[in-house]
Amino acid sequence: MRMLIAVVSLFLLASASAAEAHAFLDHASPLVGSTVPTAPHQVSLTFTQNLEAAFSTVEVTDANGVRVDQGKAQVSGNTMQIGLKALPPGSYKVQWHALSVDTHTTQGAFSFRVGAP
């Protein structure tokens, strides 16, 4: 019984903290779904977990599906950055594929817009 009380109280304590283990997009710059007045020079993605550089990718395309990124993403810890070509006003799609260091893959996409809001 004493053991049971100990377990329950430890789990209650545990509920005070929740952490991440798979790599999900935490935030991005430009912000997900945002409209930015001037063209950004890069897209920066921050994930909830550290990434494996060898197997994590990001691609930025314009409304016609043409790639507008510089080709190779830089991965450091839990962030992934990719340089952009000069972007004319319009809508752009960011598609990412992340491999977290615990070997799980996640992927997602979002768009942002360059131009007047």
Binding site: F11, A18, H22, F24, G108, A109
Partner: protein
């Protein structure tokens, strides 16, 4: 049988084989010495020793083969390439040299190889193993089994968690090997005693050593298990409401069941080894078999747990982990709340939209009513507003959307949260031309 099922079997076999590989080393070094000590007088010793050596080789061989399969499947999953390409295009090498998982596998392979080199000295024919060889073997076995932490959910966080969680997991794995990995080897030891091939006093001394190691292991498993649950489950609700949490409860229940049997062994049967020994040995052997079966089920549960997203972010997984192929997806993020909008297929024609709502802390957001408006890219195009229907999972669904043209549509989600409270979110979403 699909990839996911195959992976569960491979993981289960690998975990079990690694537990036994490390277990036979721990057993030989920590449990058996009283029996070794009097080896000249023990007639059952050569046969028992031969059994341990055979078990060590078989466990290690199965570990290496199942570990290679695990590496192969993981490389395939990481690269998204078909198996033949994984083998021919150097993906395995990239995984081994450029990922943490691969580095851990390389280290474990080296540790396993060196461990194999100690076997001749660890199970000598006529004497107890030299202290140096025994110490080296214990360290290598601990690296071999503890390195498995790098194949699990304990890895990848930053800061304090990035240190504490892997350390707890390594200790958890070593303690598990010291308990459920050594248990199966007690069975033939007890059986030999019942048949008169082992002196009762020596086996009793070995049993007391196992008991001491068991108490340390169980304490370590409990403490490190709480740390792991802290990071991976996060809340009581996640423990009872997610499949991950429920499976973890099954594991915890099995653990306490096994601890209860161990307590009976320790408090009831072990003291009786002094008196009417044979009956007590028989009881202990039976309980060791039951505990071993419990341990095998725990290993199976662990094999499944590792393939599931931990409960602490099952909700995140719904948001990003499972964007269907060919779907258009946008995550709309504001201080007040967030929406994930998936339109499938993400090209012109008839499509279906799924909307998930979250609050600022990424917890599911309850809405009374949700309407979705899709505005076409062409200025002056007619926007269509539809009422979404909530499904059993809490997601909001809209059927038969007519996407008339490709380009940058605008999706507007209007969620009625209360009588006077609305959350309105909008964002562009890219619809491709039909292929």
């Amino acid at each position: 049988m699909d990839w996911h099922d195959t992976m569960i079997y491979v993981r289960a076999v690998h975990f079990a084989a690694c537990m036994l590989t490390a277990g036979v080393v721990f057993f030989t070094v920590f449990i058996v010495p009283p029996v070794w000590a009097d080896s000249d007088f023990v007639k059952g010793l050569p046969a028992f020793r031969a059994r341990l050596l055979a078990a060590a080789w078989i466990s290690l061989a199965v570990s290496v083969i199942s570990g290679a399969l695990w590496l192969l499947f993981t490389a395939q999953s990481m690269s998204g390439e078909p198996l033949p390409d994984v083998l021919s295009q150097g993906v395995i090498w990239t995984v081994l040299t450029r990922t943490e998982f691969g580095n851990a596998w390389l280290l474990r392979l080296v540790a396993g190889g060196l461990l194999a080199a100690t076997f001749a000295g660890l199970f000598p024919a006529q004497r107890r193993p030299a202290r140096a060889i025994a110490s080296v073997a214990v360290v290598l076995a601990a690296v071999f089994v503890g390195g498995l932490a790098w194949a699990g959910h304990a890895i990848g966080a930053s800061g304090l968690e990035g240190t504490i969680h892997p350390a707890a997991d390594v200790l958890h794995l070593i303690a598990a090997a010291a308990w459920i990995g050594t248990l199966p080897f007690l069975v033939p030891l007890f059986a030999a005693t019942e048949h008169g091939a082992m002196p009762m006093a020596l086996v009793r001394a070995a049993t007391l050593r196992f008991s001491a190691l068991g108490i340390v292991s169980v304490g370590t498993l409990f403490a490190t298990g709480v740390v792991n649950s802290w990071y991976l489950v996060g809340s009581i609700a996640a423990l009872t409401e997610t499949f991950y949490g429920k499976l973890l409860l099954v594991k915890v229940a099995l653990f306490f069941g096994m601890v209860a049997i161990a307590a009976v062994n320790r408090l009831r049967f072990t003291p009786r080894l002094m008196g009417n020994g044979i009956a007590a040995f028989r009881q202990l052997r039976r309980n060791a078999v039951i505990e071993t079966l419990g341990g095998a089920i725990v290993v199976g549960v662990v094999a499944v747990l590792g393939t599931l997203p931990p409960a602490s972010h099952a909700h995140h997984h719904a948001a990003y982990g499972a964007v269907p192929k060919g779907a258009a997806f946008v995550h709309i993020h504001t201080e007040e709340g967030m929406a994930d909008v998936t339109i499938k297929p993400g090209h012109t024609g008839e499509a279906h939209a799924t909307i998930r709502l979250w609050n600022g802390d990424f917890e599911s957001l309850d809405a009374r009513k949700v309407t979705v408006t899709l505005t076409p890219p062409t200025p002056g195009g007619k926007a269509a507003t539809r009422i979404a229907v909530q499904d059993a999972d809490g997601a909001w669904q809209v059927n038969r959307l007519d996407l008339t043209e490709p380009g940058n549509w605008t999706v507007t989600v209007d969620a009625a949260l209360g009588p006077d409270s609305h959350l309105v979110l909008d964002a562009p979403i890219v619809i491709d031309p039909e292929q």
